[in-house]
Symmetry: C2
Subunit: 401 residues, 2 copies
């Protein structure tokens, strides 16, 4: 891999978390999830990372120890045995774990750690009282380094190229699944790891959504403005076996994961011509994303962009179609993106911490018309010193084929 991140990258990540742990009165943080382990070590082997509020962190590796030792940017040791993990921590961090039962206030990634593991860790580490530190961990990852931004940009190149390959083969009668298979092959050959990691429980996304006409507008469990019909009730999301027809909107919400980093991009296409109401709604999504670009700058708040989008949708009478329809409307305009596709901040009500340079956000104004389809656009942006810059590369237009 070219352009390996400098060792400083990990030093900065750890220092930033330690500063935040101290502010939250936490003596340390235990990270159990593969993505979190990778972020703080540069390795994704099975085990646990303990980061004390001050001092050197340790990667306790279950397997493969050999691989973790070769990859880790922080101290890595073998986890002696799960049942003695508490004793191992106490030996390594006597100042943290020397007190009486449950006296060490330890943050942990409780939003992803299974309850069974949470209960077992409580048994084997009697000195610790585990607190949910998932908000802190998500905040820490919201600002990306130049190394991380470059990885996201690589993923953006792959998506743009694979989309072109898919569109070149698109003709009436091709099924959603067939079109997606072409695009996914292009993504995979360019290094897509095969899925886009997502933090939310029970959420799955491999390469996004290709969905046409009324299938795209079907209600969905998926925590996004459109989910797609899916292949069956056992996979109720993204592509179906529906043939793509003429004169209907084709939603191409695509992403991939390269070197661990994810991109997210949506374009709308049509073979023939969209009916005027749908074409008009598509134009509004372009207007909204342009307005959002003006609000994506350091100092502005994430919720401002969301409120502005809501206002614009309302002004043109499309509020009921914006970001889904009926009970399945989602209450956000976009989301942070990086190692996971559902990172922070979210462009939603309540996200009032100002945007900062280095944040990366997918912005996805979409309109859902039940029985007809979904139109919209989505770019991923980097917040710069004085505004924002699109990382997604495909031309911004309605693709008329």
């Amino acid at each position: 891999m070219d352009n390996l991140p400098s060792p400083d990258e990990w030093v900065r990540r750890i220092a930033k978390l330690q500063e935040r742990l101290a502010l939250a009165d936490l003596s340390g943080c235990l990270i159990t999830q593969n993505v979190g382990i990778y972020y703080y070590t540069g390795s994704m082997q099975a085990g646990y990372v303990f980061i004390p509020a001050s001092g050197e962190p340790t990667y306790y590796v279950r397997r493969s120890v050999v691989r973790a030792l070769a990859e880790s940017r922080i101290r890595a040791v073998e986890l002696v045995a799960f049942r003695t993990f508490g004793e191992q921590l106490q030996r390594d961090y006597p100042a943290v774990f020397a007190g009486k039962e449950r006296s060490a206030n330890i943050g942990a990634d409780l939003d992803v750690m299974p309850a069974q593991l949470f209960l077992k860790l409580g048994e084997v580490i009697p000195g610790a009282r585990f607190t949910d530190a998932s908000s802190i961990l998500r905040q820490m990852r919201s600002v990306k380094s130049s190394y991380e931004v470059e990885r996201i940009s690589r993923a953006a190149e792959a998506v743009a190229a694979a989309l072109e390959e898919g569109l070149a083969e698109l003709r009436p009668g091709l099924t959603e699944l067939e079109l997606m298979a072409i695009i996914e092959n292009g993504l995979r050959r360019r290094g897509h790891i095969g899925l886009m990691r997502m933090r939310g429980y029970n959420q799955e996304i491999m390469t996004g959504i290709v969905s046409a006409g009324e299938a795209a507008a079907e209600p969905s469990y998926f925590d996004g403005p459109a989910g797609g019909r899916g292949l069956s009730p056992a996979s109720p999301k993204s592509v179906s076996l529906r043939p793509i027809g003429r004169d209907e909107p084709i939603l191409l919400d695509l992403g991939c994961c390269i070197d661990g980093y994810v991109i997210d991009q949506t374009r709308t296409a049509v073979i023939g011509k969209l009916e005027p109401a749908l074409e008009a709604a598509y134009r509004v999504s372009e207007d909204i994303i342009k307005a959002a670009e003006g609000l994506l700058r350091p100092g502005a708040t994430p919720e401002q962009a969301y409120f502005r989008a809501l206002d614009m949708a309302k002004e043109v009478g499309l509020a009921e179609h914006f970001m889904g329809s009926g009970k399945d409307q989602v209450k956000f305009l976009g989301h942070g993106i990086g190692l996971e596709i559902d990172e922070w901040p979210v462009l939603a009500k309540g996200f009032r911490d100002p945007l900062e340079p280095g944040m990366t956000l997918a912005v996805e104004p979409k309109f859902t018309f039940p029985g007809l389809g979904v139109v919209g656009i989505e770019n991923t942006y980097l917040i710069t010193e004085d505004g924002c810059q699109a990382l997604t590369l495909s031309p911004e237009k309605l693709y008329v084929l």
Copy 2:
């Protein structure tokens, strides 16, 4: 979808779980994971399923309510609000939740439910004391209906066909990733949903592993006998960019998920000729799987097949190469398979409940030679009334190209 399961299928699943809940002195069971929800409702929308030890179960749906109402085979209602979920349960199940605080002993899928959700459910359902019911839930799913077996067989057909397509294109210099992209395209066009669901925390598998020579033998976090090098430390599993060469073992451990059900199959290939020690080890893996076939019958225990395989590997002096190498050897010969790839029973020490007709198991004897590669074979079997039957369809041989 043809051959829809009969409504009886869900009646039987619920009745079987209720019988087991009563035995375990549980008043009911709360299921939160998407796969578990699908198993008990036929729908995979966001929400929770409550199954009382006796009486009618309910699917509390967050979204999409419309979709869940259309698909669910059990009573489905809208989840009014998460914060009032306890009150909704109390209204629906007064006999279960009418007692004092924490008096209802409720099982739940704590092996997959995030700790944060576990803690929040404890707050909003003060009447419940949650117990880990994951062993019960995994036992319940181990015996498959004919509908389920047919779904697994469909997935087996897709894997056999996609493997042929991949082998037809295999030539020296093709990278592991390029070969996998061809195979995955074949799987996807045949209806693969894009990933194989796996219950284990932090485990990921999309379509298996294609890995050649020494790359296949690299140590791995993955809970299997071989993981593969992977594309980077951020995706340390399965394919790499390594070109496939002559005279080296090519591990083709493939699966897919169709209609929610998974298959798992491994074949070993070589362009040219394997060196004698590796070819001999491959023959031992064939001998072990034949011996396992003799032990896969109702009444035999899962651990018997594992112990027999260990003995056979030891007899020929290959114990140190069996199911991984060094510290990364795994302690099983195979695993249950169905909606997830890591189902029960496991062919491992301690699994002493006798095999039953309808169980489906992947059996995967493999030998790892660090620096050289991995050889082995894997079939998925159905336990029948008097033995077993392979569901995997590819010819059982060393593929010499």
